[in-house]
Amino acid sequence: MGVRVNTFPLLTILTLIPLLGGGATLFASNQPKLAQRIAFAFSLLALAGAALLWAVFEPSQAGWQFPERHAWVPSLGIDYHLGIDGLGLLMVLLSALLVPFAMLASWKIGQNPKLYFALILFLEAGLFGTFTALNFFHWFLYWELGLIPAFFLIKIWGGPRRTRAANQFFIYTLAGSVTMLLAFLAIFAATGLFDFGQLAQAAQNGGLDNALFAKLGSSLFKSKETLAAVVFLGVFLGFAVKAPLMPFHTWLPSAYAEAPTGTAMLLSGAMSKMGVYGFLRVLLPLFPTQMRAMQTPLLCLAVGTIVFSAAAALAQRDLKRMVAYSSINHVGYCLLGIFAVVRITGDTAAWGTEKAAALNGVMLQMFNHGLTASALFYFVGLIEQRSGGLRGLDDFGGLRKAAPVFCGLMGITLFASLGLPGLNGFVSEFLIFKGSLPLVGWAAAVSTLGLLITAIFLLAILQRVFSGPLQNRWAGWKDLTTGERLTVAPMIALMFVLGICPQILIRVANPAALAMLKLF
């Protein structure tokens, strides 16, 4: 536990900023332009807050930092408990970076901009809360808080098939949430605990499984293993849908494809990380036994996710759907890394290094994919905007001649996404594979197939859209405006910086990875 308890409530304030900002945006002004500026100002304020966290955070210090703890529902023993480690910090920073970016990408949203921007801020509050809460009770509140804004962002501002997409997204995600809730209630019924840290302690040496069986064992659940497995699967489903892990991904392509650009950026950039975050924060510490027992099937799912989503992306003709499938693929690497580290190995330093490498890779990949995926959606959005709604792979060609800067910057993003050394994606995928190969050789080997296919379809985008003869109808294609260049410049810069100096992130991620490894 942290050294200082109840210091300055920085994390609470950080979560309140977008929440209040959303309220202010809704009520402050009847002028849409002004409302947009207010919302943007609040998102910058939140970014400043996250930057402050980054500056004050002490990577060398163990345990939760900036902890806050207050009794909340005494009769149930529920505390309001906040704190972050390196993982939480990275995710908070990523969310805070992406929200202003997504807002700029949505600046010209036609219909009811006030509500749109307010919903984005509410979504941001949900993200911050999810990544800082350490008690299931209010963590779950934030987990769901992000969902309703996302539903309406797709439903109101989405593409032609938005209703179906929004519905599917909402019901699938909530189905996962319900199973997760039931499983957590079973855990609470058995242990009386909702606190992630305390639960992780209680789960040491199979303690959680025993407690569950002692309290809930019955004619329905005859053995300890069955009961624990059922509870594990309940929680697992919630995160697997969110991340997503195939075959629980079917909501995703249409949700991302129908969502307006800014929303798609946040969904793929930040919200999908909530699922991966859950795997790291909840499943690994609480259910190591079950993860180990099911390691092979889990790895099969992760490998399937990586390979099939890449193949599916290759088969798409719609740029936005391609990027959506590629997003599934990249999140798949995170899951591969997570499932790899549960393998039981000797306690030697060599294995420890591999596992730490894999976990570091996972955390970096979460961050890096957030940057590249949202930038890719941004570029696809720009293409769609300029072409009047067209975004088919075959609708374009030769745009490089008309828009060299556009081509160059989108090219950089595509290369970052396929893992070109020197750009950010390479480092994280390299670390994941470096760790996974010795741990689970076959899975990592098959997954490299995904890397290969990804390279093919990302290069195909580059080629089909930007090379070849320029069609006449696109002769007047506008290059990136100054505003657009400035919008995307910070993201491109970060791709280079994090590709060249990954230690900026590793410095924060590594202590968290080592602490996690001690838990199982």
Binding site: S75, I148, I171
Partner: protein, 495 residues
């Protein structure tokens, strides 16, 4: 102090009866002031109770002899469970008046009956003499019939009659059970506290429990005796639907807990599993039927059956956490159902005169009535049991309790939750957020009025407040479940 909630409601009803018939404004104001006074008394009473009484104690309010032989007393008392429900009644009563502001026909009579009903409800929640409780129970049922039959809409006579018959059959069952208990105990008293001391033999408890419990639970919408509920809700005018779902169904659940379960704990154990099964069938069935309704109000009507299933399931867990969840769910569902009915009945139906979802679809109500849309989205989220609203913490406790007692039923109830999400999303989209460019701007509706906004904000504030600080009510409820009256029900302490 709390006893005045009853008196003032009846005084208000009497004052309304004395007003000249044409003074609608005065009638509305009288009703609003009476309801507000009731809520204020309830709040002050709750604060006093929390400050002065030892946690969980039963505080006598009035205890005077009423009928000497048989010994029937005018015994009013309050503990945390009563106070929670009195607070609910106060809040829903105020909101109901605000949402009835547009009643033009026989305004005076409407509000007089309304306040009489409220008085009866307060009375049930505070009575500790079974005879008195039964009298108040009947007082609450009779105005109900007239409110629906005179001011109702779709098939109002049928709905009112069905409700009245079901209620009367239920109360007849209760009455038989109570008289049997009176005779069997030989204690010559109807006082709940004294009767609950008497160890009724198991064979007697076995049938008496079932009779009294089911008699009450009919009014709580226990499947398969729930069929009055959707029909009655749909037929009733808005304020009456709000009261019906908001507090009258709670009368049933409260009676089942306070009377049937405390008097006959052994009978309760004998029937625990069967009733829990019925409760879960109600949860799943109510939600599934709500999913396919064409009439907006029927969706909400069936959702009430589903949510009341959680109350009954919580009662049957016989754990402290499950019981506390059941009581909190009574409060929570009262608020949320009131809000849902207010949006459907008052904000939408009174303006566009249809409740068919297919007819609402092209109207694009989210543009025509954004306030109603936002209110309904929030109320719907609360009804789904999303965290941050009172329903979450209530259903959470019920399900935690249920995990220990009925694991399979818990999982089924979870499926019910999921269907609950699905039907709510369906009406969100159909009623408010259908495609935007169909007929927008063609019809005009009057804007949402100030009383409606006030009522909606009151109910929303209540559900969010309890959702975020459940301790406000749990501090009343949980210690009460340790009191002698309830202690015998609970199998184990907190998990």
């Amino acid at each position: 102090m709390l006893a005045w909630t009853i008196y003032i409601s009846f005084l208000g009803a009497a004052a309304l009866a004395l007003l000249p018939p044409e003074s609608r404004r005065a009638a509305r104001l009288t009703a609003l002031l009476t309801a507000l006074a009731g809520l204020a008394i309830a709040l002050v009473g709750a604060a006093q109770y929390e400050r002065q009484a030892p946690a969980g104690a039963l505080v006598d309010l009035v205890n005077v002899p009423w009928i000497p032989d048989p010994d029937i007393g005018f015994h009013l008392a309050a503990d945390g469970v009563s106070i929670t429900l009195v607070l609910l009644t106060g809040i829903v009563a105020v909101a109901g008046v605000l949402f009835s502001w547009n009643i033009e026909r026989r305004t005076r009579e409407f509000f007089a009956l309304y306040l009489a009903l409220i008085g009866g409800v307060y009375g049930v929640f505070l009575s500790f003499d079974l005879f008195l409780l039964f009298v108040f129970y009947e007082i609450a049922i009779i105005p109900k019939y007239f409110l629906i039959a005179i001011w109702g809409s779709t098939r109002r006579e049928y709905g009112a009659m069905k409700l009245a018959l079901y209620s009367l059959v239920g109360s007849a069952m209760v009455l038989i059970g109570l008289i049997a208990a009176y005779v069997r105990s030989g204690a010559q008293t109807f006082d709940l506290l004294k009767l609950s001391q008497f160890p009724f033999p198991f064979a007697f408890q076995n049938w008496a429990f079932l009779l009294v419990f089911v008699g009450f639970a009919i009014l709580a919408g226990l499947w398969p005796f729930h069929t009055w509920a959707p029909v009655g809700h749909v037929a009733a005018p808005t304020a009456a639907s709000m009261l019906l779902a908001g507090v009258v169904m709670k009368l049933g659940a409260y009676g089942a807990l306070r009377v049937a379960m405390t008097l006959f704990p052994d009978g309760l154990r004998a029937w625990q599993n069967e009733i829990a099964l019925l409760a879960v069938i109600g949860i799943v069935y109510g939600a599934t039927v709500a999913l396919v309704q064409r009439d907006f109000k029927f969706v909400i009507g069936y959702s009430s059956v589903s949510h009341m299933g959680f109350v009954l399931l919580g009662l049957m867990t016989l754990t402290q956490i499950g019981l506390s969840g059941a009581v909190l769910q009574m409060f929570s569902h009262g608020i949320i159902a009131g809000l849902l009915f207010a949006v459907v009945g008052r904000m939408i139906y009174d303006r566009v005169h249809t409740r068919e979802l297919s007819a609402l679809q092209p109207m694009n109500l989210s543009v025509l009535a954004p306030f109603a849309a936002v209110t309904f989205v929030l109320a719907g989220a609360a009804s789904m049991g999303l965290p941050g609203f009172s329903g979450f913490i209530a259903e959470l406790q019920v399900l935690v309790g249920a995990w220990g007692s009925f694991p399979l039923l818990t999982i089924l109830a979870g499926a019910g939750l999921l269907v609950g999400i699905a039907y709510m999303v369906r009406v969100w989209i159909k009623a408010f957020f259908a495609e935007n460019d169909l007929k927008s701007g063609v019809i005009q509706i009057e804007p949402i009025s100030i009383p409606e906004r006030a009522g909606a904000l009151l109910l929303l504030a209540a559900t969010v407040l309890i959702g975020l600080w459940p301790g406000l009510l749990l501090n009343l409820i949980t210690p009460t479940l340790h009191s002698p009256l309830f202690q015998r029900l609970v199998k184990g302490g907190p998990p």
